[in-house]
Symmetry: C2
DNA sequence: ATGAAAGCGCTAACAC
DNA sequence: GTGTTAGCGCTTTCAT
């Protein structure tokens, strides 16, 4: 690898001048500038990022801490984060906590185990002189980890923060659910089953709120018996469908496509035809949704938008756009709407 | 950030000694060693990777160049690469070429466009003093890019190399296809339709070879009319099923689950029942396969194994395990078997 | 067993 | 406009 110094020698100028030309700092005569560019081209010289980083204390590298890249939501967000960063000349390193792979859902609140995997990652990030961090959650939740002495710019993606210094970018669960349930009501359904995740899950709470709001606005009574709490699994959808059908629902809203798959399973067992005998709606618009029969009406997650926005926020912070101009007491939350995808699983009652 | 020097001062020793203790180089008295460790703990000192990298010329960082992380095959491989590397204390940075996102399938052979996205990435990798590279393809193909003056250790993952210096890790397409077709034959099928990707695609060629081998070994004639070349899309599966059904096949082997989805579509239109009137097998065991009805018999890709093996090969090279001990003229190819997943879409004839 | 000095490749401050 | 000097944080001879 040819170095700055070597380029300088070949041109009979100082290292400074070459550095200036490359970074467009001080003014340099056209002549020497040309000569230097020429030699750079000839030798294929590339600045050594490591040396630059050591000197400038900026590596133009950001880290993504992903709770689990195997969650179907992660890759699109990561991809758009990378795209956004690369455009502005930032590198991205991804750290994968593999939280769900290791402990499925059991690590919630297990602070010790959580930190046993997070801390080495943070240590590494600090050692590597990373400029900023995007924390990428597997499911929406409130992340409390970075409140303390963590003084790298950071933004929460697909999760909420507690600190006013950490903005978060999330989907608008409530509104999206409200829209879907309103649609179901418009199609004539009044007894609508709701299959959620765990009760203390943010997606679940907010989507339930949207459901209730839609009922309320249409003058419909909210029957708590029509709510079933599952665990996002296909099996939970199956069980939920069973429980709900006993309560004479005409439509079932499963808040993940995966769970809705279980609803289809149960309905098939009972020889009930989806989109005819009973209407079904999902959430996520995962790739599977298009392979259901009938194809599933569901809600598409704006994952790429969320990733891009997170990256933009972080880069703005790094470039000191408007710094922490006016932080209030509350963390700033950017909510992105989802998009309803109408297919064939919902019919008029 | 506290530095080595500061730790040294606090301990009244030289930087050298601290460095020695941390890296276990020279022998140091137990006493000073303890004192130093103590201070390191107190101050939370972490070596600066950048400075280390500059000095030692090893960054303990490898790069993954992914053709497209949005391909469903990529995340599992990346994940296991990361897992393997982290275990050995290596960082990984992922670069995403987004080849399929940009140009779907049209970039094959478009050297100029391909290089316009690859070259900046390589430049960046060189600048960042990366120790080694894993090239992660979206589909199996022969990569010719790195033959020339690229002198970083590199391994091909999910693709073939041309150079004897670059090992590749791939799936055993031929054998896996052979097994599936043998199974179909065992179930009594003799006229088996084959829906492939493009004719010049390696997966397609090798899986077709496996098909032919199974036919041959069972004394069955291979009818070329039973082969349909598609483009991996659901639509292609639909068209393929139409063409093949006219030729009176009793089973259809679609070499991607996605295409097989199109086969199901067509069969449904014709009111033919999969797993009864006609048998269907897929390939990939993508998540959708389990949501087909009936559930799809298919072949699972050993993606995590392939990723892990690639990483191991690269790390071995880096640690100079047995160097390029005995390179022949041919690139070394590691082939991994896939696993047949029998579900409900194939029945006895 | 420990330390002094040099230097990895680069840029910032300042001088000329 | 261009060069000199110093130093980012670390490891590596080579002395002692």
């Amino acid at each position: 690898m040819v170095t700055l110094k070597e380029v300088a020698e070949r041109c009979n100028v100082s290292a400074t001048t070459v550095s200036n030309v490359i970074n467009g700092k001080a003014k340099t005569s056209e002549e020497t500038k040309n000569r230097i560019m020429q030699v750079i081209k000839e030798t294929g010289y590339k600045p050594n990022t490591i040396a630059q980083g050591l000197r400038v204390k900026k590596t133009r590298t950001i880290a993504v801490i992903a709770e689990d890249i195997a969650q179907f939501t992660s890759p699109p967000m990561i991809e758009s984060i990378m795209e956004t960063c690369e455009k502005k000349g930032y590198r991205v390193v991804v750290h994968n906590l593999r939280l769900y792979d290791r402990w499925s859902d059991t690590w919630y609140g297990q602070e010790d185990e959580y930190h046993s995997v997070l801390d080495p990652v943070i240590k590494d990030i600090l050692s590597a002189q990373i400029d900023g961090v995007i924390y990428l959650a597997g499911h929406a939740r409130i992340i409390k980890t970075f409140n303390a002495g963590f003084n790298l710019p950071i933004v929460m993606c697909y999760a909420y923060s507690e600190s006013p210094h950490i903005p978060s970018v999330v989907i608008d669960d409530e509104k999206s659910s409200y829209e879907m349930v309103s649609y179901l009501i418009k199609m004539g359904h009044e007894r609508i089953g709701f299959i959620g995740g765990r009760m203390d899950n943010i997606h679940t709470a907010q989507r339930l709120m949207g459901y209730q709001k839609a009922m309320y606005e249409n003058g419909l009574l909210f029957d708590p018996k029509l709510v079933y709490y599952g665990d996002w699994s296909r099996k939970a959808g199956h069980e939920g469908a069973k429980a709900l059908l006993e309560r004479n629902v005409t439509a079932i809203f499963g808040i993940s496509d995966r769970m809705t798959g279980g609803v289809y399973d149960y309905l098939e067992e009972k020889e009930l035809i989806v989109g005819k005998d009973i209407s079904v709606a999902g959430f996520d618009n995962e790739s599977i949704a298009e392979f259901f029969r009938p194809k599933l009406t569901t809600t598409e997650l704006p994952l790429r938008e969320i990733g891009a926005k997170s990256a933009e926020l972080l880069l703005d912070k790094l470039e000191g756009a408007n710094g922490d101009s006016q932080i209030g007491d509350e963390p700033k939350v950017y909510k992105y709407p989802c998009k309803m995808i109408i297919r064939r699983s919902v019919s008029e009652k």
